[in-house]
Structure formats: structure tokens, C-alpha cells
Symmetry: C3
Subunit: 468 residues, 3 copies
């Protein structure tokens, strides 16, 4: 018995399934390029064993604990730490059993497939996860985790990761990245520049963050020109640890291209904590354009991740803090919002802006038409709630006719769940091969062209767009 | 010859069709749970024969007469009553012939399938409906309607309805429900609490409605606390006639959680007819949260049906009144709108809020992410214009990956067309089995798990969510 | 070898494919009705040979050059003329090679299929287009273009076009249409009334345009009543050259039905160039309703094409002017926006308003519910970026259940690329047959009804809706 169907996610009509499988067989062993994600560089720096199954699969994975919570299971019972340091469940086996008893909740979800993929392919588990098998599977995974060939670097190599990017704050000292480099280990782990803390006037401790930015960069970051110079300095520092991109997660896609004196005054106001909500948004929007201009010089790819309403539940945020599954997608406008940035750099073919969305209605209406004409613009893969069979298929069906394949950039796993990386890339590869097989079967792509496209979507486009 | 294809709505690939049919065979005979709808309790109270085919299938069914009207047929010719009591067609056979001559307009619509299902399964009609067969079919159905085994209670039993909910105004005396109960008949017909007339300051005669509410409840409903007490009293009265839910049809999904003194002042303004449009909306929004708090005490499930722009044509509304097919869906925002209510009760796992939408773009972007984390929140089935093969399939494809199956609540027929009830539930069962068969065939669900899910979607989830 | 798969765009399941093919075989040879488009009447008037392959396929086709540009190819290199008259590439063979080298960019796009259809069916090219074959194919097409049977009128007849509509400004003298008529050639080429220049206060030279309108019509068009009379006069003139429709491309779907004195004052303000942006929008919206009222008298079909944000790139617009692929769809609201017009004429079954959209989310939520009830309203086919396999399939899947087939109006090619006309109609016919075959295979339409529907969608509905 196995948990995974060998032909999963392929079309059901036998001839088309055959086409998809043939395409997949040619690309399934390609190395993983993971140009955007949230793995912890400390894992690879220290190379310590992962603690236990619950701490690997449940407690840190918001996809998993949000679903369990949606059916009334308190986050405390899943071991999610409380802001006040109060008691939460610490018995990992107990947490694991709770997960097992409720595993039916994940039927039809991508989490189910990711977990079963990791169970089978990483840990050799082939029994269905349930209350009955919970302990046996816990023991089996625990045993593995104690072995050297399940330490982070060994898994990295076994997962066939050619390059992976983590994401660090602009204020991070990158000590784990330094430790990785100094270790002499050959794994290619790079960082990415994430400046939320120093471009968002509403971020906790903005003024102190700017001061710290100045210290790190050796600039007077409290003046507008010093502030920009400090960014340039930090970007160079990040580049020295392999960074090829910056990453920007804003509530909206708003961009601005203000005159420098106006931007400078807005920055002063931000430093004094006097920005209105709209001014703070304007400042964030302007900083996207400044970042884009810096990209023209230093070559970092600019990634924009807009549209999440963060921390929707006041109660959960108060008790458990940020990133607890309460970030909800919102309607996002791109056409008007991106115009200032695109008018500033959109015609440049020597730089790359990668756009993501949490609003699928924008694929056909806004994103594909924009990426299908502006040389600088490319579409990121389906993200977050859309990192799934249906989400990926809708993306290809909705974006390809107007943007083509070559204004997209391959797959991003965007994950902090290390063992799900091969699973997620495998899903993307299968969906792309299924989509291509359908094109071939309906006369929209020649059969001899499909393998090249499959290879591009799996490997070349990500490598090239992210300069990895 | 038959009107219905035995394998209708199943996937076309033979192997997957076989999977779907096997699932369907296991659940097709399950009793109907109909937890939300608009059948008339008087039918079951008096148990009189239905009048004639036109009055059963055409005149009261806005799906049918709106389509006929869209091609230029005056509503008068279809027997739809005029506000001024003026002449409309009264010859049911003439109306029936008009319906028959234009039956091709319904090609590709769910109405076509509902009508043919009722023709074949309820009345034994197996000929195609057309100008040629109109009279013959009219006679055949008329003959049936005259027989005792086609009276409402007999059909109720033949339809295998285990429980059905009607919907009554908070001001209704529930006399038909009383008559049903007093009759000793065993059919389980419950009511639902619909307070539009007494929570919407813009409702016709709002102040008089409040006075009447106070009389019925024995409370001074003109004071804020008395008004809330009156609601509690009426909800208890409705519960005594089996109600397990309240139902709220607002133009938007706006909710508010105002301080009690602010709410009280707003209520005074509403009573005096001095609310602005925005204040009226705010009051309605606040009352959703008050209703939710009452649900914490009395256990009624809170249903929210937002997003319909009612009575779009001024001319038709003036001549024929409300509910004449001119209610049009509108863009609906949930993320911001629901936050006050969710912050008040969303974390409670001892209550249920069921959300419906007329804006399908909200499934992946807003509703599934919200229902996939808040313990109190569940997603209602596709509603109104989406109560169809494509609408239901899109719902499953768009909601399941993030919300799973267990944050949904089975099917609602939501109908006033009694004979369409088995048809609508049959469509839902077939679509769900097709969706599940596709999951199995693409390795996203194990074959041995699918029957349990099919049973849950058909029967258990509705029964459990609505406490029926 | 052929470029085109004979069964392209048909369902992949063999039995359903067979159904689709059988339907297609019955309608594939029907004449083309092209009731809305942008071919140049001069072609048919002068009947001169088309110049060369690049000027036929690349330089004038924004679908083609926007995709090439999106990957960094300057518009100059594609021969797109500059506003300042500066140098752009004039070597058509060089442009052609650039197109060939980058033809892989069009994989999975409708442009790929249109180009290959024209290559094979019009010019007999059967080799894959690439850098290697570029010159050979250039020569083959060039040779054809020099022959009499490839002149515009010969192609018109070979394409089996029964009727085609061009689109001309209200200020056009229709001299090419006169020349066609005077020539005695039998091709049915009609015009359509496009009054943007004289209904949009923000149009370049609005006041001069109004003066010119008055001159052409022999009316004092600077008074409100004279202005309306001038429109009536020009509409009659256009009708004398076969026009059966007017066409209105506005940024939004806003309509107004202002009192005549208010409209008159707004018109004065517009003439004086004093309208605010909102007032200009209000005036355009009101003129839609005036045009609709004129349609009640003269029978012209009113077409509304809303929702494009024009000339998104300031740089490209400055250097190359309008219509350079930088028009981006935007979110469009219909429910509120159309209410004034629908309240004025929506209940009239003696007139036709055809609505188009660039916002697919409106199909199920707004457009199908509106067209499914208002007698005057019909849905136009998928337009612009949605004139494709996926776009057309989504339209049928999303619109049919609520609007049926008979509130739609067949296909429009809407193109200025003459050789793509047969290709585009062929795509529409195949998609419709595939959709119908799926309905039959899933028991949603009887097999004996499908051929009639296929014929209606291909031929009758367009002819009837546009009175051609």
C-alpha cells in the first residue's frame, strides 16, 4: 500500500494522462530551484536534528493549525505559544494524536497531499494517518529524526535543492548565513532583502528601526538621502550573502513616484510618527518605486506580495500574536495602483518586477494584460491559499492566453515547512504537465514543443528570472 | 423514452463516471434535509390539492417567468398578479401553452432540469415539453393534482423529506405551523426566524412593526432593552415551533458591534424615521451581532444572506411589486464587513454562523479563508443563481482546498417551488459525487474515504449544522 | 504535415469529442456574420493588394506586438510608427525574422492559433514558423499577396463573409463605403455609428468636433436640441450605408437619465471645456440613454463596450500614440451603473442593448442576471483578451445557466486583422460545439436539440440581434 497515487493530479482521460505522465517523467528529477521562501537559515547553519513530529508538522504550520482550529480545537491544545508565555500543550505526542484524530478535516486540501507526500517520500510512512496509526507513525518519524541522514543539510541534499532563498529583515545581521558560508558546506542558501520594518511607518518601532538601519549601514538614516543610502548599503550587504531579490508584502498594491522633496517631507513625518494612515500607505507605495530604482543599479529582483488583511481576529492576535492563520486575502486593484511604478521603470527590460496576488480575479483582468506588455513585469506563481491543484490550474488557464508562459517565473514554494518543499514542487510539476498535456490534446501546442515548455516552467524560468 | 439521462451531471470519462455513479448509488436514497427554504406552511396545514400546472410551475416561480419575460413576454401574460389588481391572464392552459412554446429558452439552464425532473419523477411525464405536447402534459399533470396522493403531505412523504424549514417573519403568528402540529401529522416542518421587518429601519412601516413586535412579545419594544427582550421572546416562540435558525437577508455583509448606548440612540433615531441610509445600514449591521449574541444563549443558527440589489426595475416594481425576478447580485466584501461580528463571536465553537454569497469571487479570496479558521463560521451552499451544476462545481473547486468539506453545511434548496425540491437535492448529490469522483481519480482522496464524505455532504452536515 | 490539429479545441474524452465533431461538421461551412469589427473599408473600396507579410501580421496587430514587446523588443524594431515621425524599422523581412525568432512566446495563446490558421488556410503554409523557416514562409506569403485572388474582395468572398460591419466615427464622411457601394461589388460591408469624438467632453478637440458635427448634419449642434438633432441626422446617414448599430466604448458602464434642462446645461459646460472629470463621465453616461432613445426610433442596436483603462504607459503613449497594446481591463460595475438606462428603455422588447465586458467576474454576478430578465438586454460575446478558447468556455459556463443561449448574440470577431477573421470564427464555432457536446454528454441538453443551438450560436443569433 502507498499513500500517494503515482498518477495523481494528471488528467483523467487515458490518452491525455499518458501525455502528462510522459512530460512529467522528463522533468520530475530536475533539481529544485526555490527562489522565495521562509525556511530558517539556522537549520542549515547549525544542522541540528528537527525536534519531533508535532513540532515539525503541526505547531509551526499555519495551514495545519488553522484548519484544526476552525473546528473548535483551541490553539493552546496544538502547542502554539502564547504571547503571555502562559501554558500551552507541551506533550508532542498528545498534539500529534489530536492531529491524527482530525486528519479527515484535510480531505480535499493541499495540506493533506503535502503531509502524505512527506510521510511517504521523506519518512517511509505508508499507513493512513488516523487515531489508530498515530502512535506508530509518531514513532517511525521520531526514529528518523534522530538519524544523521535526516538532519537539515542531509535532507537539503536529498531533496535535490540546487538553490534556496530564505527571507530576512533589512535589520538582520545574517549571522546564520555567515555561519553557513563559513562552514564550507556546499548547499546554496541565499537571503532576500525584506525591508518592511524600515519602509512601513506603521511598523512597530519604526523610528528605532530607522536608527538601527543607520547604525548597521554607517549612514545617518534620519535624513532622506542618508536613508536611501542606508538601503543601498544594506542591499549590497545582502547581495554579499547571495541575495538576488527584495521582497515587499504590502496591504495594497499601491505605488507612488513622488518628487524627492515631497518624499523627503513624508519621511520626516513618518519618523516623527505623524503620518496619517493614507500618508503611511503613500510612503510605502513610494518606497516600492525607490526600491525599483535601486534594482536598476544593483540588479535585485523586486517582488511585490500585496493583498493580505493581517491578523483579522483581535482576540487571537492579543493571545497568540501575528501569523496565526488569521491573514485573509482581500480584493486588490493593480491597474491604477501600479501605474506610478510602471511609468518609472516598467519599460526597462534590464530589470524584473515579480507580481503576486491573493485575488484571482486579477489574473485575466489585470495581471496577465499588464505582464503581457510591460517588459519589466513578470507574474509570480499562485501564492499562499492558491498553492494547490485548483489554484495552479486556474492560474495557467487564466494567465497563459494573454501573458504566455514566458512572462511567468516558474514555481515558488514560499514555505517554512521544510519537508513540504519536495511535495509542493512536485504538485507544481504535475499540474504544469497536466496543463500542457491538455493543450497538446486540444491542438493548442505541438507535442514536440511541450517538453521544452515543461522544462522551462520547472527549472529555467525560475533560475533565469531570479538570477540564481 | 425518458426526459432524464440516468448518468446526468456525472463526469464524462467512463472510469470516473463509474466512480461517481457508485458513490451516488450509495446516497441517492437518503432522506432529504431541507434546512432553509420558502415553502408555504399552509400547504402542509390544510393539505389542499395544488390548483393547476401553470399555478404550480409558472406563475409563482421567478426563475421561470424571468426567463420568459427576458424575451419580451409581458408578465401579465404569465398570470403574475398586478399591484393595482388589474387584469392579468387567468386561463392557466393559455399560460401553460406560452411556457411550452418558449421552453427552448431554458436549454442549458437548471430550470430546464428541475422542470423535467418534476415532470418525469413526480408526474410520470416522459414526452418532451413543446407546443405540440403542451395540452397533453397539462392534462396529465392536472389529473395527478386531483388525486389524494398528490396532495402536499403525500408528496412530502413521497419526496422522503425528513425535515424541512420554512421561513417566517418575526411578526408572523405561526398559525399554519400550529395547525400542522395540532393535526397530529408526522411531517417535520419547522419555522425559521426572519426579522427583516423589525431590524431594518428602511423596511415599510418599521415603527408600526416594532409596536406590533412589542404587542406579540408582551414587551415595551420602543425602548432598546425592551426591543432586545422582544426579540428574545419571539425567538423562543419560534423555537417552540421547531425553529433552529434565524435568517438575515441584507444588501451588504456589513456588521457592527456598537457600544450599547450608541446602539440605543441609533434605535431611537430609527423609530423616529430619522436614520440616514448609512445609519440604517449600521443599525442592520449591529443587529446581526445582537442576533449572534442571542444565538449564544438560545442556540439558533445565524444565517447571513447578503448581496442582492432588490427590485432593480422601477417600472416592474411599481406594476408588480417585489420578488419579480429583478433582484441582481452585487459585489460583496466580507473581510472588513464581518470583522465586528467575528470579533464578537467568531471564536465561539458553541455557535454557528452560516454565510452565503451571491459573489463567487469571494469563495477563494474571502469566504474559504475565513471559514477555514474561525470556529463559529461555516459556508452555506451555492445560493440562488448558483444553485446549479456549474455553480455547485465552482463552489467545491474554489472552497474545498482552503475550507475543506467540514466547514460547509450540505445543501439548501431555498425554494418555494415544492416539486423542485427532489430535483434540486438530486442535482446537488450528483455534483458532489462527481466532484468526489474527480478527487479520487486524480489521487486527491482515497477511494475508501469518498463514500463517507458523500454521506456527510448529503445528510450529516446539514442535519448537524442546523441541529435538525 | 499540417499546422492545425483537425480536432483542435474539442473535448478530450473520445465519445464527447465525437459529439462535438459531429456538431461542428454541420455548422463549420456556414457563412460568416461579422457584426462588429474594425476592418478598413478602404481595403474593399480600392481592392489593392496587401503590402507584405510583416505589414499584414505584425505591425498593425497589437496582440502580436505587445507580446513581443513584453520580452523587451522595442516597438521601433517591429516597425510601429512613432508619433514624431522618427525612424523605425522599415525592412519588413527583418521585422518578420524577429517575429519568427520569438514565435515561441505565443505558445498557449490565441494569437498562435490565429496566425497558424491564416498561414495554413489562407496561404497554404504548413511548416512550423521559426528562425529557420522565416524566409521561406515570408516568400510564400509574399507571392500570394501579389496575386489577384489574394486581394481584399477575393479574400472576403473566399472567407464566405455574408455581412461585415466596420466602425466609423460620427464625423466620418463614409467615402470608402460610398466607393464600395458605387463599385457595384456585391460584398455586404456596412458601417456602425461610433460617436466617441462627439459624446465625450474629454475627447481631443471636443468643441471643434461638435462644430463639425453640426456642419455635417446641417444643424446648430451647439444647442442641446440641435446637438441631438445632429446625432439623429448622422445616424440616418450611417443607416443609409447599412449601419444597424451604434458602438460606445466608455471607461465605465455608467449611465444617467438626466432631466433635459440639466443635460442641456451640462452640454453647455462641456462645450466650454468646463466639465469636471465626474461631469464629463455623467455626460457620457447620459448620452448612452439618449442614444438608446434614438434607437427606439431608428432601430439601431446599441452596443456598450466598457471597462478599458486606455494608454496605461505614459512613455509609450508619448512616443507611439494610442492603441499600442497598453489598454488594460478594469473592474466594472454594471448593477448600479446601468440602472438609469435600463429604467428608461430596459423593458422595451422592440430594441436591443448589447453589453460587453472586460471583467469576467461580472458574468455570473451581474450580466447574466440582468440579461436574463430585461427584455432589451443581450450579452455580447467574450471580447478582446477573452476572445480565446478559455475565455469563450468560461463565458458559456458562467452565462448560460442564468441567461440561457437566447439572451446572447453569437460571435463578434472585433478585429482589424483581416486574415484572422476565419480563424476567430472557427475558434468560436469549435468552442460552442465543445460546450454543447459537454451539455449533451452530461444530460443537460438532448442530443437532437444540440444542432439547432449550434446553428443559432453560429449564424442566426448574430444575424437577428444585429438585424443583418
Amino acid at each position: 500500500m502507498t499513500l500517494l497515487d503515482e498518477d495523481r493530479l494528471f488528467p483523467t482521460e487515458p490518452a491525455v494522462r499518458g501525455l502528462a505522465r510522459a512530460l512529467y517523467d522528463e522533468i520530475s528529477d530536475l533539481p529544485i530551484i526555490s527562489p522565495h521562501g521562509h525556511t530558517d537559515p539556522r537549520w542549515f547553519a547549525e544542522n541540528q536534528p528537527f525536534p519531533d513530529p508535532a513540532q515539525l508538522f503541526v505547531t509551526p504550520d499555519h495551514y495545519v493549525f488553522r484548519m484544526l482550529h476552525s473546528q473548535g480545537i483551541p490553539l493552546e491544545d496544538l502547542g502554539v505559544p502564547r504571547v503571555d508565555g502562559g501554558a500551552t500543550e507541551t506533550d508532542s505526542r498528545k498534539i500529534w494524536r489530536l492531529f491524527a484524530e482530525n486528519f479527515h478535516l484535510f480531505r480535499g486540501t493541499p495540506s493533506r497531499m503535502w503531509v502524505e507526500h512527506a510521510f511517504q517520500e521523506v519518512f517511509g510512512v505508508t499507513k493512513r494517518f488516523s487515531a489508530e496509526t498515530a502512535d506508530e507513525i509518531y514513532d517511525q518519524i521520531s526514529d528518523c529524526l534522530g538519524r544523521d541522514d535526516f538532519r537539515p543539510r542531509a535532507l537539503f541534499e536529498r531533496f535535490n535543492i540546487e538553490a534556496i532563498s530564505t527571507t530576512e529583515s533589512a535589520l538582520d545581521d545574517l549571522k546564520w548565513h555567515k555561519m553557513i558560508r563559513d562552514s564550507g558546506w556546499g548547499g546554496n542558501v541565499v537571503t532576500a532583502y525584506r525591508p518592511d520594518a524600515v519602509v512601513d511607518p506603521e511598523f512597530d518601532g519604526f523610528a528605532q528601526n530607522i536608527a538601527r538601519l543607520g547604525d548597521l549601514a554607517g549612514e545617518d538614516a534620519t535624513s532622506w538621502t542618508g536613508y536611501l543610502a542606508a538601503h543601498r548599503n544594506r542591499r549590497a550587504f545582502f547581495k554579499s550573502f547571495g541575495a538576488t531579490s527584495s521582497d515587499h508584502g504590502h496591504a495594497t498594491a499601491r505605488t507612488e513616484d513622488l518628487p524627492q522633496d515631497v518624499a523627503a517631507k513624508l519621511f520626516d513625518k513618518a519618523l516623527q510618527g505623524k503620518c496619517s494612515a493614507d500618508e503611511a500607505d503613500m510612503f510605502r507605495g513610494h518606497m516600492l518605486t525607490e526600491m525599483a530604482r535601486m534594482s536598476l543599479d544593483d540588479g535585485l529582483v523586486l517582488q511585490i506580495h500585496p493583498g493580505s488583511a493581517r491578523n483579522h481576529s483581535a482576540d487571537i492576535t492579543a493571545r497568540f500574536g501575528r501569523d496565526k492563520g488569521y491573514d485573509i486575502p482581500t480584493r486588490t486593484d493593480y491597474v491604477t495602483a501600479l501605474r506610478p511604478l510602471l511609468n518609472a521603470v516598467g519599460e526597462r527590460s534590464d530589470m524584473t518586477v515579480i507580481l503576486f496576488t491573493l485575488d484571482e480575479t486579477s489574473y485575466t483582468r489585470e495581471l496577465a494584460p499588464l505582464a503581457g506588455v510591460y517588459p519589466a513585469l513578470k507574474l509570480g506563481p499562485p501564492w499562499w491559499f492558491y498553492d494547490s491543484y485548483e489554484g495552479m490550474m486556474r492560474f495557467r488557464e487564466m494567465a497563459t492566453e494573454t501573458a504566455g508562459f514566458y512572462n511567468t517565473v516558474g514555481f515558488n514554494d514560499d514555505t517554512r515547512a521544510f519537508c513540504s518543499i519536495p511535495a509542493r514542487h512536485d504538485v507544481a510539476r504535475r499540474v504544469d504537465c497536466s496543463f500542457l498535456a491538455n493543450l497538446v490534446a486540444t491542438g493548442r501546442l505541438a507535442e514536440d514543443e511541450a517538453p521544452e515548455v515543461a522544462h522551462d516552467l520547472t527549472y529555467r524560468l525560475a533560475k533565469q528570472a531570479y538570477r540564481l
